[in-house]
Amino acid sequence: MSKGLKLTDILVTAVIAIVFGLIYRIWGPVYDLVKVVGLQAEQLSYGMWFIASTVAFLIIRKPGVALIAEVAAAFFEMVLGASYSVESLTYGIAQGLGAEIVFALFAYRSYSLAAAVLAGIGAGIGSLAMDVYKGYMTELQSWNLALYLIFRFISCIVITGGLAYYLVKALEATGVTRIVRPVSEEDRRSLHD
């Protein structure tokens, strides 16, 4: 079985991306609402915007899936009229790349909570890279910047990492993920027992 993406993989990724694209679109107003609390509290919710990459990879477990899912979801968010307009897409590319690189560093073999969390952080770094250029990060006072970064990373860990992992675990219990995952060597060997 090749490690390349088959049509079914792409279709499943696309469906996941559509669902999360919608969530991303709705998350914009949620984020704005949390801003009212002040003190960079809305950064705690930021991790939701990377979650398609980790969920898609944990379900399908193939190279490229995290990037495709994130970009597709970001694109769909943009098309639905997100307030960030084209930035939704460009940020999505950076975030997807961040997650994809982390999964690649694990040689696409790790599907653990740790891998998901680190991928979340990777995506977070991608978003921060974009923020440095497009946002006002560098203008912030150090205490403010500290809050910003810490909350952002907490969000990556909890939402992009933890929430994605447990979401996929719940899906696995229903058995729907069995058919989309690639075949392992162990499965192939057990054919000849």
Binding site: K6, T8, A170, A173, G175, V176, V183, D187, L191, H192
Partner: protein, 574 residues
């Protein structure tokens, strides 16, 4: 021997499965053959079709190995679910998509599409019709047209009528006969009544994915009749066998002496062979009384009931054409849709859904829609736990139900991992947990095999005999004839309760047979039916030929009878 499709020494194992699905299986299909693959649910027949077409392992990754394989150069596949086979929203676009992939020039597409639709008997007012507006039978015929558009050498059909009503089933088999002309056809099916005379080879699989029998239909059916019963196949005469068997007549002391309760509201008490309802029912107060009852979807009243009632021990079959409002009626009775008008429950005006849930149990058509927990046990225990019953009571009740529904060994499994029959049993078990006196079921036997269907009907009959009132939406005239005490006919949003179960069932079967002869199905009926002898002999067979669900084995049918008429003809003669 010209092999159209085949595989040698196939080994296949799904990830995480405890055992191999196929161990060194070899099967080859000759050009021009019409093969039927039969066997118990879950034994791998559909998987085998997917291997023979190359879908496994190229589209779906499953560990598989074989010595050699012959995949047809051009093949078409028709799947089971009418709703999941299309990628375009419109009929013409769907077929155009297939033609596009065949590099058919644009100018030739419309004539080709019209030709294909004509072939499968699909007459539409216009080509640019949304697929969602088609009936399920029409959708399946469209799927067959799509497969035909590929100009396949081999046509694979995987339980195409499992999710269709009797009318849709008849239409689809007609379309497949038309589509299969001049081609090799490989069929997996459970409802074989309409195709026993069409196929020329039967391959019978066992539970472990090996082949028990492979030969001419007459031979296989004659020697392995007990397997058909065990595997829950809907063969011609299956209802007659069941009725003649011990379990049906023993189930509730039925027989010739049955009487319908006195029901002044409903006209037309049926003629011979009424049903003995429980002692309490005759002359008792109705459990439900409807008067000027209307059920709304949005602003519109979709269903009107002038007057009707439901008494203990009744089994009311709600019948009618698709879209007439049968499900709407049930949802209205449960107040899941807005209603107006007189609705009395146990003599008092009915309350909201929560109050109704204590008296009325509701079972959805798709069992998956009811599942809210992650394990079978939790699913059954759910309502009791919500009512804050003591855990000991919950445990006792749940265990009892799990045993009664044969789900005890699956108690920790996720509901979505169960088979269709098990899901259905779970949905009924979790609905009836409060021992409600009224049970509403929306097509509970839909898509089920014969064994599960009979088991469920017997269970319902048990409850009915104890005084539970059953209101069940169904399409199946066989069920109505043998189990219903009354029929509510719903047509265009109006409820009528005039005909008896027998009258209605007769009318429906006459209409179906009439449609057969009209459509020129003379050819199959004219030929001496090969396989019918095996089925025909069943009437004299030993009663033990009908095993309990859990047991194995039974005795082959007694072949005292000679070749007789086709099962469809037999029904007409009755």
């Amino acid at each position: 021997m010209d092999v159209a499709a085949g595989v040698e020494k196939l080994r296949l194992k799904f990830s995480g499965a405890p055992a191999l699905t196929f161990r060194d299986l070899s099967l080859s299909i000759r050009r021009g053959e019409r093969v039927l693959l039969l066997g118990p649910s879950g034994c791998g027949k559909s998987t085998l079709l997917q291997v023979l077409t190359g879908l496994i392992p190229h589209a779906v990754e499953v560990p598989v190995s074989y010595e050699s394989i012959v995949v047809p150069g051009r093949w078409g596949f028709v799947f089971q679910d009418p709703d999941t086979q299309f990628c375009m929203p419109f009929v013409d676009e769907e077929l155009a998509f297939v033609l596009e992939n065949q590099c058919v020039p644009r100018g030739q597409m419309i004539p080709r599409i019209e030709q294909l639709l004509e072939r499968v008997g699909l007459r539409l007012e216009r080509l640019h019709m949304p697929i969602a507006q088609l009936s399920q039978g029409m959708k399946q015929r469209l799927a067959i047209a799509g497969a035909l558009a590929l100009e396949p050498d081999v046509l694979f059909v995987d339980e195409p009528t499992a999710l269709l009503d009797p009318e849709g089933t008849a239409q689809v088999w007609e379309a497949i006969r038309a589509a299969g002309e001049g081609r090799t056809v490989v069929i997996v099916e459970h409802k074989i009544e309409r195709i026993v005379d069409y196929i020329d080879r039967v391959v019978l699989f066992d539970r472990g994915g090996g082949i028990t029998a492979d030969g001419r239909p007459a031979d296989v059916f004659a020697s392995f009749k007990h397997r058909l019963v065990e595997d829950g196949i809907w063969y011609p005469g299956v209802w007659d066998d069941y009725t003649a068997g011990r379990r049906y007549s023993g189930a509730s002391g039925r027989g010739a002496n049955r009487k319908l309760p006195d029901s002044p509201e409903t006209t037309g008490v049926p003629a011979a062979g009424g049903r003995e309802t429980s002692a309490a029912s005759a002359g008792t107060e109705p459990l439900i009384r409807l008067g000027g009852f209307e059920v709304y979807r949005g602003k519109e009243a979709k269903l009107r009931v002038r007057s009707a009632d439901v008494r203990p021990g009744e089994w009311i079959a709600v019948v009618g054409p698709n879209g007439a409002g049968k499900s709407t009626l049930l949802l209205g009775l449960m107040r899941l849709l807005r209603t107006s008008g007189g609705y009395e429950l146990n003599g008092r005006p009915a309350g909201n859904t929560r109050e109704l849930a204590d008296q009325i149990a509701f079972v959805f058509q798709n069992p998956e829609f009811q599942f809210v927990t992650n394990s079978v046990y939790a699913e059954v225990a759910f309502s009791l736990r919500k009512d804050k019953r003591p855990e000991s009571e919950v445990a006792a009740k749940t265990e009892q139900l799990l045993d009664a529904f044969e789900l005890a060994d699956r108690r920790d499994q996720h509901p979505f991992l169960l088979s269709l029959g098990q899901k259905r049993r779970l949905s009924v078990a979790s609905a009836i947990v409060k021992e409600q006196r009224i049970l509403l079921l929306d097509e509970p036997t839909f898509g089920q095999d014969a064994r599960n269907t009979f088991a469920l009907l017997e269970k319902l009959e048990e409850w009915r005999a104890r005084g539970t009132a059953i209101v069940m939406v169904t399409h199946d005239p066989d069920i109505v004839r043998r189990f219903a005490t009354r029929v509510w006919e719903v047509e265009a949003g109006e409820l009528r309760a005039e005909r008896s179960p027998q009258e209605w069932a007769d009318a429906v079967e006459a209409a179906l047979s009439g449609a057969d002869s009209q459509a020129g199905a003379a050819a199959p009926q004219a030929q001496p039916p090969l396989a019918e002898a095996a089925f025909a002999g069943a009437r004299e067979a030993d009663e033990d030929a009908l095993p309990e669900p859990a047991s194995v084995g039974g005795e082959p049918a007694d072949l005292g009878r000679t070749f007789a008429a086709v099962a469809v003809n037999r029904r007409k003669e009755r």
